[in-house]
Amino acid sequence: MSVFVNKNSKVIFQGFTGEHATFHAQDAIKMGTQVVGGVTPGKGGTTHLGLPVFDTVAEAVAATGADVSAVFVPPPFNADALMEAIDAGIKVAVTIADGIPIHDMVQLQRYRIGKDAIIIGPNTPGIITPGECKVGIMPSNIYKKGNIGIVSRSGTLNYEATEQMAALGLGVTTSVGIGGDPVNGTDFVTVLKAFEEDPETEVVVMIGEIGGPQEVAAARWAKENMSKPLIGFVAGIAAPPGRRMGHAGAIISNESDTASAKMDAMEELGHYVARNPAHIGETVLRAMKERNIPIR
């Protein structure tokens, strides 16, 4: 088992014939992902990578039964592409783009209400269930199968944590990047809830960063609702206030936005916290030993 995507997921690529989509679709197929086609408006009826290309997501869904979409559409048109995916009945849409205008995301979040779709991103490396399904741009070879769920705002810090864990023999069920933007499709709580419900996930790692109330809200939710141990880290201990640290959402606007305040809150709520980004792997291992959770 896993969360959001697995070996049965049928994936299409929006913006399929573009350079990045082509490269990452090939990599996803190599890993075993069921890629069933793609969408590029104006190129419907052609084939790409031996797969059918459609003009609209609705046509692609009707013809292939796709339920997951990797949205590789440039930022100015990305929110529209996400709405199209939701409208066509896609269940999980992953949007990689960095640079979607925030007002577009505010509109999208309104549009989604009452519709049953998960939006992962934007500004994310995507989601991967090792050996089954990859929808994104992460280096798939570093993800080994295991019993740990990872959710992070940053992409590269997700890789970092994954490598530290792999070095200790620890693998993952699913890794989810929720992205570095201030308004994002999926928050930490949604992913924690999915991990809590997934029988194969036994431990959850949450990697946050400065800015916004998400990490603490998730830590509170976890205290009330999770039986599985949660290990947290928040990047940006050394970040100055008022500066946007690369990610649109990574900015300290007030005291509760700081990395230390968030990690203090997580610790007070009884969760495991790696205070040093180099110690994420060993903190996970310690939590597993203390909770008698086997390495799988």
Binding site: Y111, S154, N158, E160, M245, G246, N276
Partner: protein, 390 residues
Amino acid sequence: MNIHEYQAKELLSTFGVPVPAGSVAFNSTQARQAAEELGGNRWVVKAQIHAGGRGKAGGVKVVATLDEVQKAADAMIGSKLVTHQTGPEGSIVQRVWVEQASQIKKEFYLGFVIDRGTQRITLIASSEGGMDIEEVANKTPELIITEVVDPAIGLRDFQCRKVATAIGLKGKLMSQSVKLMKAIYRAMRDTDALQAEINPLAVVGSEGEERLMVLDAKFNFDDNALYRQKQITEMRDLAEEDPKEVEASGHGLNYIALDGNIGCIVNGAGLAMASLDAITLHGGKPANFLDVGGGASPEKVTNACRIVLEDPNVKCILVNIFAGINRCDWIAKGLIQACESLNIKVPLIVRLAGTNVEEGRKILAESGLSFITAENLDAAASKAVAIVKG
């Protein structure tokens, strides 16, 4: 992207929001002329820099003669203004705004932000205008009124009336405030602003003639939406930005200067922040934040090294790359190219991981250059700190 107060007032005025009559001046003669043309017998001369806290720092003067207007402008233009938001290095005043002074009866606070919790535009208002709103929020949270806007429906009249009542705007002022709040909301939406702050919103005018007036305004815009905001983009004042950060962004790099001595070149914002954290936890001080982003070509890596080395405090550079869409072999080639073309004298500590890591390490090892390699983040940070501590 930020703009000056006078630009924000001009922008608001095009949306029908009442602002004092005024004019921008780049020298004291212009300032005097502006005051003369505006007429009246009291003026405010306001230094135009992007940082807040100008009043306390001497950047706002109320004067009663044209000579005083000229004197105030003369003192401000070209001077360095240090406020709690500029940092100790301050900001050089290039222009002033001269406006007719208003008879202030009462001051309010009005702000629109994109609230990260609700993911919607939220109106924040307070009867405590003219003060630092965060201080008000900390000391008297009950005086902060918030109203969330449904993006599909927009800000409604009843919501504005609710806010007006809560902060004590009655009668004619209430109906004025409804129009004003809706106009500011529209301005924010139409210009892709992240934040619109009016502080203070003042009640001005004589008995029976009271009206609302925006006395100070601050706007902050979404950089990601500037492609569709030509008019806003034209308001950008590069003199208010760090020239190195501007140069870096021209090369697709995200650079922020800090005050330490360990230069950093990292891919990805999260790993870049974590690298600064690891250095700090080892007792070192990072000189900068630098995210080279995805697809870092050798040219991009060379530019990154050059920008980091322009800081004379830099004693060594920590390069930390976890390649996803990047490739370690390209990074390695870029580093060698940088070492050769820039004649780099400081030690380079290099940690490579991810896509094509073996090729990357091999290229570095065979280069004959003395890179200090590190297997992981912890080792990289500890080696960098050990070098600067000697």
